[in-house]
């Protein structure tokens, strides 16, 4: 099955040091929170950016989702801080 594209924004992007990357698709029942926790174990900027999921929000295929949502068949996951537009 195709890889999962992950995009990072704002300070999450700065701490991780990349805009996006592809990862092996997790089991479809894995949640966004599970994936964030697994990425955080890479340490360094990943641990700094993703260590406190309470500060994070996510979108699957361009729609905001709660972190408890299963990744399912989504092609794109974005991880970012709460938005501050307007």
């Amino acid at each position: 099955m195709a890889a999962l594209q992950i995009l990072y924004f704002a300070w999450v992007r700065e701490l991780i040091g990349r805009d996006d990357e592809q990862v092996d698709r997790p089991a479809s029942e894995s949640t966004v929170a599970d994936l964030i926790a697994s990425l955080a174990t890479r340490g360094g900027g990943y641990a700094e950016a993703l260590g406190d999921p309470g500060r994070l929000r996510a979108a699957l295929d361009h729609r905001f989702v709660p972190l408890e949502s299963p990744v399912g068949k989504a092609r794109e996951l974005a991880i970012f801080p709460p938005v501050t537009g307007g």
């Binding site: 924004f9 979108a59 361009h62 974005a78 970012f80 709460p82 938005v83 537009g85 307007g86």
Partner: protein
């Protein structure tokens, strides 16, 4: 008529208002957001999620047109690097009567703040930078519209 633009360029408020006035309604309400130059701010950088921003803002506009009988809606949101005094965002709505225009305009800007994928980074004159944190009050205002 509803139209959304996500762009780096500035916009002409008079032109946007004139287009809304031409929709045949009885009133036009609008909000223009400006970069405040407080606290030694030198520039405001707006990052967004290109693939998501337009569809998401269009969903917000659809929600407004479902809730109020609007004849026209216009949303412009800039991204990139802006200076104090620059326009960031424009929301305009027109309807037969003032209430729908005024309320939908407030709804649109409240939801843009908490439901559109933009992030602001402040650059200060002394070289410091800081990502703007979301405000509880803004999230509460957006939630109020769900009641």
């Amino acid at each position: 008529m509803s139209r959304v633009s996500i762009q780096t360029e500035d916009f002409d408020v008079a032109e946007e208002l004139a287009a809304l006035e031409a929709c045949g309604g009885g009133g036009v309400a609008s909000f223009t957001g400006i970069v405040r130059g407080e606290g030694g701010l030198a520039a405001l950088e707006l990052q967004h999620y290109p693939a998501m921003t337009l569809p998401q803002v269009e969903r917000i506009v659809d929600e407004a047109t479902t809730r109020w009988p609007l004849l026209g809606v216009r949303v412009i949101h800039r991204h990139g690097r802006l200076q104090p005094g620059d326009r960031i965002v424009f929301v305009g709505a027109t309807s037969r009567h003032r209430t729908a225009a005024l309320e939908s305009c407030a709804f649109l800007i409240d939801w843009l703040k908490s439901e559109a994928p933009f992030w602001k980074k402040e650059h200060f004159t002394d070289g410091r930078t800081a990502w703007v944190e979301s405000r509880k009050e803004d999230e509460a205002k957006a939630r109020d519209w769900l009641l």
